[in-house]
Chain length 399, copies 2
């Protein structure tokens, strides 16, 4: 049998992170690679109780449901969003299999091969993977710790007339940045002027460190919404409740939602009914905000711990941005170091991270890498950093 | 904001069934439309126990998992498949969000715009929806109750050199047909000769009526497999356990599985970890085969009941094929009747079905319709048929 794969096949590169995850499964590698939340903080008891409540509803809970998602869950999400300056109805919302699926579905209905999508530099690698799989051309816009560089954005909007801008404005992956409100408003204004749709990916917005009074408004909430919004907003419960429930959602202009729902019918009919109903019961009967408060305090402590270790090791020429929230810290090594080569040594030493190369639309800076600080407990982090140090010493000395 | 949707947007037609489902939600319409299993037979208690076992495993059960699917579930599926003359390993298998996602992912990696996909006449409407969304051109092959017409298949293989043939050989949707082994072997031989990949969709294979000793071998089991197989086989637990768990799987040559897994990474990273683990625990601790035996006996009784009512009403010029298994019966009305118009009257009378038009790749026979016989209990079926009779009388008299 001679298989005749599609021409787009070559564009499905496998995610570096997931390949590394595979590599580390079942052996003793301590990994800073995956975007994994801390397992020991999952609200397992509350999830069990929520599942029990679902099953009390009777067998209907196990039947097919609407493509758009379980209505009570969408209603609960609308109420939750109100506290975040967002007024939407269930018709402006679609439940997805994680926010990854929202990225995929929007790309599917909005992008033609050859279309340019502007992205941050660096940006989420699996979004790049989706965009390329549909034949889109991702092009990056410069930025700093306050967000996108507005002059560069304006120039690239003019140059490429892109259909879409993909951003993670609040605790970005991989750089951990949080945009200032001025930048947020500036990006909105520029994109609206050019009819460039903004895909705002917000998986980490609730994981805020530092001054609690600081509020990072979503682009979606700052724009007119939902009708006529130039922002499509997606988030997920993977980081605040648990990834195993695989539930995200997307809010947008209702016409965009309708089209995404049609694409979802074709893709998988609907996401898990059980997971959606379990999450709904959890939202109704569990203090999710209290839980998030606990998780983010823990994550901030882990971040501080990892930063303190980085400061102790003080590898020559290695710098980082202090993350304002989220799950990642982004390291820059001396220019001559290729972190892909470093990873191989690190894995031999028993530690892993994600080389920076995968996070760039173009012209990757090979001397960068991403570390996760949420998954490992204190002891594991200390041991993992020891191993990473051995790998670092070997390349930094050589360098 | 002027939205700039993709050119492929027009190809996302909404599924007729799901639109009808929406129409019937929350009001008193008795529906024969959806492909819904009987809720009262879901093994809810066993699912609850399985979930309990999952949660006993600890918090890791709620973490991210492999894109390919929960390994113990894949291993259990391999053991299950062995009883069906199939020898595969977990590497030849991918867990999906229902078998719908398997159809989507294979199309995504295998089909380019303009490619021809041969299908049965009639065939599953949501597969047509997927194929068209990727710009493929579905073309139907004639068939009868024994399966595809081999002469017509041979002619169309020659004429179109199609990359793919999509079929439901065992209790087809919508026609309820089961192919003879001769036809199965004939189709395999012809497709292998032309390097045409067969997508074998088998959601209903376990729901067999009549003589228990009759065995319908899957095309996949009849072909060399898994390496170099010209068949990609997909099935699901939606009809045998419950749709709410949203879990299907696909088996194929390992290279095809690898490519589909990459596409799945982009699409949604992975299916629900909880659902997969719950199914695994169910397979380990519950007599699924006994349960399936119970369900198919019930479904056969429901089929007989619906057929007896059809015989009683004996609408003039209305004929049907006796389904050999599955969930559907396919009706043919007098030529001049448009079942789309009939549906509107039926909905006014409080009953629903799916007009045949959506099940055709081309040249739809507008005088056909699909009825589901698994969802409604006896009393509901009797009342629904009364309502349908009123609608029928009004068009058959007019006709």
């Amino acid at each position: 049998m001679n298989y005749r794969f599609s021409e787009r096949l070559g564009s499905f590169s496998s995610s570096a992170v997931r390949e590394i995850l595979k590599l580390t499964q079942g052996n003793s590698i301590l990994s800073f690679a995956g975007g994994l939340p801390a397992e020991e903080h999952f609200p397992a008891q509350a999830i069990s109780e929520a599942f029990g409540r679902v099953m009390e509803q009777g067998n209907k809970a196990l039947q097919y449901g609407l493509t758009e998602g379980y209505l009570p869950l969408r209603q609960a999400l609308c109420r939750r969003m109100e506290k975040k300056h967002v007024k939407v109805t269930p018709d402006d919302m679609l439940v997805t299999t994680g926010s990854q699926q929202a990225i995929d579905l929007l790309t599917r209905i909005y992008i033609d091969p050859g279309d340019v999508i502007l992205v941050e530099r660096p940006t989420y690698l699996s979004a790049l993977q989706v965009f390329r799989s549909y034949g889109a051309v991702p092009i990056s816009v410069d930025g700093d710790t306050d967000g996108l560089n507005l002059a560069d954005l304006e120039a690239k909007l003019k140059q490429y007339n892109p259909k879409m801008l993909y951003v993670i404005p609040t605790f970005s992956n991989p750089a951990g940045r949080a945009w200032s409100e001025e930048r947020r408003r500036g990006v909105l204004e520029l994109c609206r002027r050019c009819d460039t749709l903004i895909l705002e990916d917000d998986p980490y917005g609730e994981l805020k460190f530092g001054d609690k009074s600081v509020e990072y408004r979503s682009l979606f909430s700052l724009d007119r919404h939902p009708e006529g919004s130039c922002v499509v907003y997606t988030s997920t419960f993977s980081k605040t409740v648990a990834p195993g429930l695989r539930t995200g959602w997307v809010m947008a202009d209702p016409e965009i939602i309708r089209q995404m729902a049609r694409a979802k019918q074709a893709a998988d009919l609907q996401s898990s009914s059980l997971d959606q109903q379990t999450l709904y019961q959890l939202l109704e009967h569990f203090d999710l905000d209290g839980h998030i408060e606990f998780v983010r305090t823990e994550y901030e402590a882990r971040k501080k711990h990892l930063v303190s270790l980085l400061e102790q090791y003080a590898w020559p020429g290695v710098t980082w941005e202090e993350p304002k929230g989220g799950m990642f810290i982004w390291l820059r090594l001396p220019k001559e170091i290729d972190t892909g080569a470093l990873l191989k040594i690190a894995v031999q030493e028993g530690a892993a991270f994600v080389p920076g190369v995968s996070f760039y639309a173009e012209d990757p800076e090979l001397n960068t890498l991403r570390m996760n600080f949420t998954y490992n407990d204190t002891a594991t982090t200390i041991e993992g950093m020891k191993r990473l140090d051995r790998a670092m010493q070997s390349v930094l000395v050589k360098g």
